[in-house]
Every structure is written in C-alpha cells, then in structure tokens.
Amino acid sequence: MSKPEEIIPKLKKDTIMSLLSKGRRIDNRALNEFRQLKVEVNVVERADGSALVSLGNTMVIAGVKAVLGSPYPDSPNEGAQIVNAELIPLASPVFEPGPPGEEDVELSRVVDRTLRSAKAIDLKELAIVPGRRVWHIYIDIYALNHDGNLIDASMLAAIAAAYTAKIPEVEVRGNGIKIKDEKVNLPVKDIPVTVTFAKIGNEIVVDPCYEEELVMDSRITFGIDSKGNICSIQKGLRGTFTIKEVIEAASLARELSEELREIIVKLK
C-alpha cells in the first residue's frame, strides 16, 4: 500500500511547504539530508569501468569505454573525454522515447564540466603518440529509475565508473602502437561530486525526490572537488535565488560533498 497521502483543499505544494516550514520533508528527511546511497562498481564487466548508483529509489548506471582516436586539433597532446547521458523512457512514465532532449544534454554537460574543471581524468596522460593517437574516454550514463535528483546520481555513477576503470596498457613501437593484454588504471586524479538543491517556496532542500521536484521553483547544483573547491555550478528552472541563499548552499555543498566522496574512495 502506498504511504497515506494527506488530502488538502489546495495543491500538494502547500502540503510540502507547510511540512518544510516545520523542518520536515514528505519522506521524513531533514532539509540537508541525502537519501540512502548505494554504489556498485564493475556491474558490466566488459566495459572498461562501470557503476550502478542507487540514491533512494533513483537508479542510474554509467559505463566507461576507452577508444583509440585522433586528438582534437586544439589539444594535440591530450586525450579526450566525452560524456553522454540519456533519460530513457524505461526509467519513468514522464520520459518520452526519441533523441536526446534539452534535459539529457544539460545533464551530460554538467557532469562533463564538473569532471573537466576538477581535472578528474588526467587527459595529458592519455596521449599515446602526441599529435597522432590518444585515448578517447567515453562515459555513457543511463537513468534506470527516476525518483528525483538524476544530476547527483549521474555524477556519482560517472565518477565511480571512471575511478575504478581500467584501460589497456599501450606500447609505442616505432611507427605503430601495440595494445597489450595488461590493464592499467584510468588516470583519475580527483573525485568531484555534485550536490543539488531544490528551492520550494522559501525553503531549500538537498537531494530532492521526484515529488519535491514536481513542486520546486528552482534548482541549483554545485560541483565540489577533492580540495573542497567549487568546480562547477548550474542553476536550473524558472525561479530565483538570493545571494545569501546561494552562498549558504555552496557552503553546505562543500560539507556534504565529503560524505559522498568517502563512499567513492572506498570503492578501490
């Protein structure tokens, strides 16, 4: 049976807001509390790296694949990092089939930016023959069950998959490259995580569940690196934040990011 839902003369948003004013959320969490987090790595053994993240009931899977390719012209001595996230209809009745929409793209780019700014994947170490052959690291992220906060769940899946990924060792011989059977760790030098907040009325809560996302006015995500620096920010939706709110959120994000990072570090 579902949890009893209170019937009120007005919309659900008012219920959520009146609970929030008393410091409670509909799933009994504190305002700055994350849902239970579970991370499993190597779930797709044939991928170079993979992770399945459960954040409350939200489930996301990420896979890492290293592919040999040419470097981009503006960075001849570096490998490449490509992040692709998809909100597939399997995960929710509200996702429609079809090519990636603006939400899929925003999610991909926020995860990509966070990894890049934190210099998580050391692209310089991924140049095999400078100017000619480099590793392209593909991180593909798929939502499997949507119960809110796909951003943080996707970020955790991506960094967990990358952190535990192993790519083939490569030997440069004369004019050619030999891909050996041995594997080496994907060079990951930082573990950035994101912390997302939802603003509902005047209250700000962390890690919104699906019901909270339905009534939120705006959303803000902070990417925090291992040193506690902010490496990415993304505000979303139509509402607004005051300066005070944003600074408090950033500060709280730095605190909360430590617990999330601990879980990732323990994976190796």
Binding site: R46, K65, Y138, Y142, L144, N145, H146, D147
Partner: protein, 241 residues
Amino acid sequence: MILEDGRRVDGRRPDELRPTTIEVGILKNADGSALIRQGKNKIIVAVYGPRELHPRHLALPDRAIIRCRYHMVPFSVPERKSPAPTRREIELSKVIREALEPAVILSSFPRTTIDVFIEVLQADGGTRTASITAASVALADAGIPMRDLVTAVAVGKVDGTLVLDLNHVEDQYGDGDMPVAMMPSLGQITLLQADGNFTLEEFKRGLELAMQGIRRLYEIQKRALKEKYSSLALELRKGRS
C-alpha cells in the same frame, strides 16, 4: 577451431545453455520489470502499461498496441557503440514485438498501449532471444493477461555441429544462427529467423534442440515469477478463513 573435444570455446557441451538467472520487479516506476543474466548477457526490461496512448490517433478501437524499443547501451559491446539507434536495433525492436504480440490478450485493453523497453547493458550473443525471455516475464509481472509466456533461444551451427544458445564468438565465426521464440505450453512459434546455411535435416534437429533449451528456460522464467510472490501466496493460503 571452435569445437575441441566436443566442447565449445566456453567449455559447454553442444546442448548446454549458458547459466541463466532472472530477477523480477527490480524497477519501481515500471508496471513490470525483469533483469536477465545469461552467460555474459545482462539485459533489463521495463513494461509500462496498458496506458493511455499519445497521439490518440495511433490507438486501435478494439485492442491495445504493443510498442517495443530494443536498445544497446554504448558500453555493452567491446567497441563502443554510438547511442543512436542502428538499423539492427530497429529491426530487432520489430521482431521482438512480433514475438510477444501473439501471447498478449490485446483485446482486453482497447485504445491503450503496452510499452516494452529493453536495454542491453552487456551483450554476448543471443540478446534478442534473451530480451524476449525477459520481456515476457516483465509483461506477466505487470499483470497483463497472456495466453502463455514467451521463451526464446538461439541455435547455431559451429564446425558442422548444431549448438544451443550461441554466444557472440560462435555467432560471428560459426556457420549459422537461428533464433527461435515459442509459447511453450501452446507449442506455438512466435519468432523464427536464420542466417548462414542449414540443410533441412539440420533445420529440423535445430528446432528440436531449440525446444529443449526453451523448456529449460521456461522453468527458469516460472521460478523467477513465483519467487517474487511465494511468501504472499503462503500467507494467503494460511490466512484463508
């Protein structure tokens, strides 16, 4: 050589299935769901429906329609695959749908759609048959009335020998691949395809071999579905007063 000492590359005998497990109901939003592991294959299926169909003009007045999307995630295969649907995925979506349709009592829900979403997380040959096997479990989990479950397996020919449940290597380097899907209780075939070449005799024996595999997989499907509800059923039997 694929076949040595009568054993295949992965050590199986010609009539041996890969180890197979099915988990039911792992996705909370979907009305029905199943995860199948068959050898290295890992495939997740979600069923949504019957539900309203948009745009409405696609709906049929006297029955439900089934929409099926078979998709492989980019990291499911050794060489990363582009996320965009390939022609193979489009064809497989169609044949999988047609393999499931005969089993579903579509007339129970006119003007609705039953959506089947298949994501291959890891592929090692025989993904279309494993998808069908998992999808029919997900449909039953969703409470959709069916004439029978649908069970599927691929039979192939390797070094002149017929083998059951092809893996990827055997499919690529063998002499034939024949996926078969059936409604086992009714004895009706709902999917049959082939490539390579088979004599008539090989074809007949291949079908027999497929049916053996299907019978075993049918038991695995049934066990998985019953397990989900066995404690509830036990309580109901004891509590009947």
